[in-house]
Amino acid sequence: MTDVDMPPKQTFRLSQLIYDTRYRSLTIQVVVFMLFMAGAAWLVDNTIQNLKVLGKDFNFGFLWNRAGYDIGQTLIPYTNDSTHFRAMLVGLLNTLLVSFLGCVAATVIGIFVGVLRLSSNWLVARLMTLYVEVFRNVPLLLWILVIYAIFTEVMPVPNAFRVNPATGEAAASMLFFDTVALTNRYTAIPGVLFSNPLPGILGLAGPLWSALVALAGGLFLNSRLKARATRIQEATGTRPSTWWATLLLLTLPWMAVLWAQGFHLDVPAFNRFNFQGGIKVTNALVVLWLALSLYTGAFVAEIVRAGIMAISKGQTEAAAALGLRPGRIMSLVILPQALRVIIPPLISQFLNLTKNSSLAIAVGYMDLRGTLGGITLNQTGRELEAILLMMGLYLAISLGISGVMNVYNNAVKLKER
């Protein structure tokens, strides 16, 4: 009987590692960790062995070799004498460019379509439903190919802009006072040139920094003006009209600075095969951008619609009771609230769009996958290095986007106090 009253022995038994909940989770974690390390070691060991069998090594030295190929659309200077590393940078920037443009456009399209789907207009609501369903349920690759085909078939060839010497007319004409040409290869828009620019500072071109300084000065003066108007309003009760002064302050200074540096447009002109001068935006970029934003826009529209419908009808009615017009109800009352529901799924759509931009290969847009994971990989035969590097870069982009969007999400989130 005395046994019962004896305190339990405090000695540690091995079986406690499994049966005692205090230690069990530790045991499991140690076992899992060992298994994980063993698996990782196994993979690395296999890779080393395979590389040896193939007579290859693991080294990123190839990135500093001459690339030797050309890229149609580049954001930074690049020639075929540049290194593979620079080609990779070009690809990375191209990926970021199309992703950024796509995210913006998809959001705009999504909000418009999501709102219009709830419109009282029968035809428009049906059309928007049709758009959403058709784009959501067909593979993105198909949309890219179809839009690409439409662009190449419908737009005029650059040659159509050539003026026929006999008739003095061309088969196609440029838009906006002969400054913009839409062709089936690219959109040629005027470039900006300066005849006597200021020297650059800290890598910023002269016109850029001087214009920024001028703009900042204008903004500063404008804030002083506003403060003065407020003072007068407080003193006299009437606010002096300032809009014209604001307009001047916000536009004149930087325009004057640019004009002083000899601002002029570099209008593209047709020459033998193609337009010369100006900026050419390749159709590959436009098509990919359109396809990505139309496809993702359909998903965003659904998110927006769900977000709006999640806001209780009382909000609309209360806003209407306050005398707001339907457009203002949407923009001032419903959307700001819906935004909280919309943002989290929107983040994952942005991520999807960025990842889907890797389909650029279908239109020959040289993104990260096209340069590093495409031609570079092919010409150097360094698939292990190239693909791992590419995955790392995509991962970094994805984490970056979700990081930024999460910060924004936390900012607009309903603050519970």
Partner: protein
């Protein structure tokens, strides 16, 4: 007292017709199309878009040719019937090659096999999708993957039997290990199954195959293509990724730091890279990661990576469902004294999985669309792979729109019906929970 005869009308008056402005076509038009200046503008814009689309595609669609042996013949027929400048659709290519768009190069005499597999797929998923179907069919659902494997690839039936036997032995081990608690049961079950597969399964299979060669003619993976490939990869990935996804979701919510970290790392890594890079891993890198000399065919390699991809997404869907469950459910399970695995198995997962079905269906739709990307590793997906080689035939060189429209329509039909189902389910589940 004078009797007051109350005036009560005995017959109803016929209803007055509504004012002309409040009824009929005119009213509908006004209410639905022209209720405000903005709506008028929108309506006209909509009408213009519809007109533009129809006017551009109608002549082409009207001039359809169904019977021809080549694109040249099609063009000749169109020119003959509708004038030399007419353009028209040449659907003859679909008529000529539809079987390749659907089945790839699957031998025609065995075509009943993929068709049977596809038909049985509906039987197998019916008990999961519709609650009115008898529960006993779930056993068929469990056996279905192996049956499909055997029917599609052929060969003797014994490898599939061995795999099934391994699961059986695993279940036996699980029951025997039940006395050591859930963890013991799971470890013992896994260990028993693994041991069976590693040691006696292969020789046993050879012996059985030698004794009783029951089987179908083999069809190798390179003969798969078109929608057969898309469905095989898509359905296979979702089916294989479900258990993995559930484990990852549980791991991500686990209290154990290391397990949570590993699961988060895996999920975020997979979700952070494009599928196309994973397919490149399948086609270019997997051979580096496996022991030298290991080699299995590209479809299986793609399937593995696509499964990882799907598992990460399913894990997020299941995680959402898990966190949507009321805390009371977890507390109730604890109060009953159930250990972790019992609580998950008996209380948490049945509810969580049920509400995650719409999400899983959406993931599947995404997956199914993404199977078109396998073209970039040299497989014949229905959209680009098959179309490209159809165009490599001299007869159909230069054909462009018709295959895309055909494939796009099939994708649309599949995915639209599935998304409608997911919506229906969502509505139903919503009601269940209120």
């Amino acid at each position: 007292m004078a009797e007051i005869a109350p005036f009560v009308r005995h017959e109803m008056l016929p209803a007055e017709p509504a004012p002309a402005s409040e009824a009929g076509v005119l009213h509908w038009l006004r209410a639905n199309l022209f209720s405000s200046p903005l709506n008028v503008v929108l309506t006209f814009a909509g009408v213009f878009i519809v007109y533009w689309l129809v006017s551009h595609s109608a002549p082409w669609l009207m001039h359809s040719v169904w019977a021809a042996d080549s694109l040249g013949e099609c063009r000749a027929i169109i020119a003959e019937r509708w004038g030399p400048d007419a353009t028209g659709a040449c659907w003859a290519v679909i008529r000529d090659r539809w079987h390749q768009y659907l089945f790839g190069f699957y031998p025609w005499e065995h075509i009943w096999r993929p068709i049977t597999v596809f038909a049985l797929l509906f039987v197998a998923i019916a008990p999961v999708l519709f609650s009115s179907v008898p529960r006993k069919l779930l056993w068929f659902t469990l056996a279905y993957p192996l049956l499909a494997l055997w029917l599609l690839w052929g060969g003797t039936i014994w490898p599939e039997v061995m795999i099934a036997a391994g699961f059986g032995i695993g279940a036996l081990g699980f029951m025997l290990g039940a006395r050591f608690g859930s963890l013991g049961a799971i470890s013992l079950g896994t260990l028993a199954a693994a041991l069976f597969w590693v040691v006696p399964a292969a020789p046993l299979e050879h012996a059985l195959a030698a004794m009783l060669p029951i089987g179908l003619p083999e069809v190798s993976s390179d003969q798969f293509g078109g929608f057969l490939l898309a469905v095989t990869v898509g359905v296979g990935a979702i089916a294989l990724s479900l258990p993995m996804g559930v484990l990852l979701a549980l791991g991500r919510r686990s209290d154990m730091f290391l397990i949570r970290a590993l699961c988060i790392g895996f999920i975020e890594f997979i979700r952070g890279v494009p599928l196309i890079t994973l397919l490149f891993v399948a086609s270019l890198l997997l051979n580096y990661f496996l022991p030298p000399g290991t080699n299995f065919d590209i479809i299986l390699r793609v399937e593995i990576l696509v499964t990882f991809f799907a598992a990460a997404y399913i894990a997020e869907v299941v995680r959402g469902a898990l966190s949507a469950l009321p805390r009371g459910q977890y507390e109730a399970a604890d109060a009953l004294g159930l250990d972790y695995w019992k609580a998950q198995r008996l209380i948490i997962l049945p509810q969580a999985l049920k509400i995650s079905i719409p999400g899983i269906v959406s993931t599947f739709i995404g997956m199914f669309k993404d199977t078109t990307l396998v073209v970039f590793v040299g497989l014949f997906d229905p959209l680009k792979g098959i179309s490209d080689f159809v165009r490599a035939d001299f007869a159909w060189k230069g054909i462009y729109w018709e295959p895309y429209i055909f494939v796009g329509c099939i994708f649309f039909l599949f995915n639209f019906s599935m998304s409608r189902y997911a919506m229906y389910l969502e509505q139903k589940l919503k009601r269940d929970h209120r």
